[in-house]
Amino acid sequence: MSATTPDEVHKSVRKYLAVFIALIIGTVITVGAYYVHLPSVAMTIAVALLIASVKAFLVAGFFMHLISEKKMIYGILVATVFFVIGLCFLTIWSMHDFPANMNHSVTGQM
């Protein structure tokens, strides 16, 4: 997993700096996309969340060394991701349970 010899550490440091620059660029693009006002709300949300996901991948993958981690940690995380996605979808599914005539904006929106 993590670098052990001085040479490997030096190589990792260069990688960390590249990731750092990518994260700053990602932040600038996210804020920039807000100010240019994309044509639709859906597109704005999609762009912002896509960039956030890429940034999250970079932090978790390189700063937290997840791209070269041991199996046991992947096991823990697969379970976590499964449950957290379930958690988010539960709230969305629950919204379809309302009677149609309730004052609830979700009708016809999802």
């Binding site: 704005t44 912002a48 932090v59």
Partner: protein, 288 residues
């Protein structure tokens, strides 16, 4: 009491125990924040069309805080790499930047919070809204002899020594902001429309409802304070642990350097997680 620990990776897991421990802890943290994010989705999708507030927060400050937190994330990992290269002095310097960044983040956040507590919304009896910073409020006592001017203390308050307490009632407030005909005009300002800010003096008799942008203001402010407050607590907790390892805990570098490096790595993993949460919080709360 000596808590059992391992310094070198175990043969069966390939990891030292603290690393398994921190990842299990982070997994539970993901569930904690996941629950709140799903609450956010519920509130946001469930809000009637056009009522979800936009541009309530200060985007330049939020962007600055994002950059501060990302910077602290790289310094954490560079500090750890310095230790791997046996360079303790450089670790000390780089990790002090991490601690400085955490402090800057919290100071900026507290300014943002303070701003929300000074930001008021007044609903007038004629149906119009005034939104802005409360700059003054005038109170009158019951016999209308004493007039007091100071920060907002509600529609009335009592003051004075026991037995001789006086009741003061609000006479007027001054708000520096803009007037709006509807909530939608405040929550969804149209692109390019800039509200002229000026002072509004509003008599108490005109006020139907008055309140600041605290967590009680609306569901957006509630979830904003809950998410960022919990995140700020994580920043404080992480900074305390990193600060302890950096300062008083650094004696271990001499007695057990490998275990010390592990501590720095594990506290760093937590710190990256805190950064990761912010990466999602920032666009979700500030921009969308």
């Amino acid at each position: 009491m000596d808590i059992p620990y391992t310094v070198h990776p175990r043969a069966d897991t390939g990891l030292y125990n603290a690393k398994v421990g921190i990842w299990l802890f982070l997994a539970s943290e993901v569930m904690l924040f996941g629950a709140l994010f799903s609450s956010y989705i519920l509130l946001r999708v469930g809000a009637p069309d056009g009522t979800w507030p936009h541009s309530v927060l200060n985007i330049p400050l939020g962007t600055l805080n994002t950059i501060v937190l990302i910077s602290s994330s790289i310094t954490v990992v560079l500090a750890w790499a310095s230790l791997k290269l046996n360079n303790f002095a450089r670790y000390r310097v780089i990790q002090s930047i991490t601690l400085l960044c955490s402090l800057i983040f919290l100071v900026i956040k507290s300014f943002e919070y303070r701003d929300k507590f000074a930001h008021y919304q007044v609903v007038q009896k004629d149906g119009k809204y005034v939104d802005g910073h409360l700059t003054g409020s005038v109170y009158l006592d019951a016999d209308k002899k004493t007039r007091e001017e100071h920060g907002f203390r509600g529609l009335s308050f009592t003051e004075g020594p026991k037995g001789a307490q006086k009741k003061f009632t609000l006479e007027s407030v001054t708000v520096n902001g803009f007037e709006a005909k509807s909530l939608a005009e405040i929550n969804n300002p149209k692109v390019g429309v800039h509200h002229e800010h000026k002072d509004f003096k509003i008599a108490a008799a005109q006020i139907k409802k008055i309140g600041n942008y605290g967590p009680w203001h609306n569901t957006y402010m509630a979830i904003y304070f809950t998410l960022t407050g919990l995140h700020a607590l994580h920043v404080i907790g992480g900074a305390l642990v990193i600060g302890y390892i950096w300062g008083p805990g650094a004696a271990m570098w001499k007695t057990d350097p490998e275990r010390y490096i592990n501590r720095v790595e594990v506290s760093g993993l937590f710190w990256h997680f805190v950064d990761l949460v912010w990466i999602f919080l920032f666009p979700v709360l500030y921009l969308l």
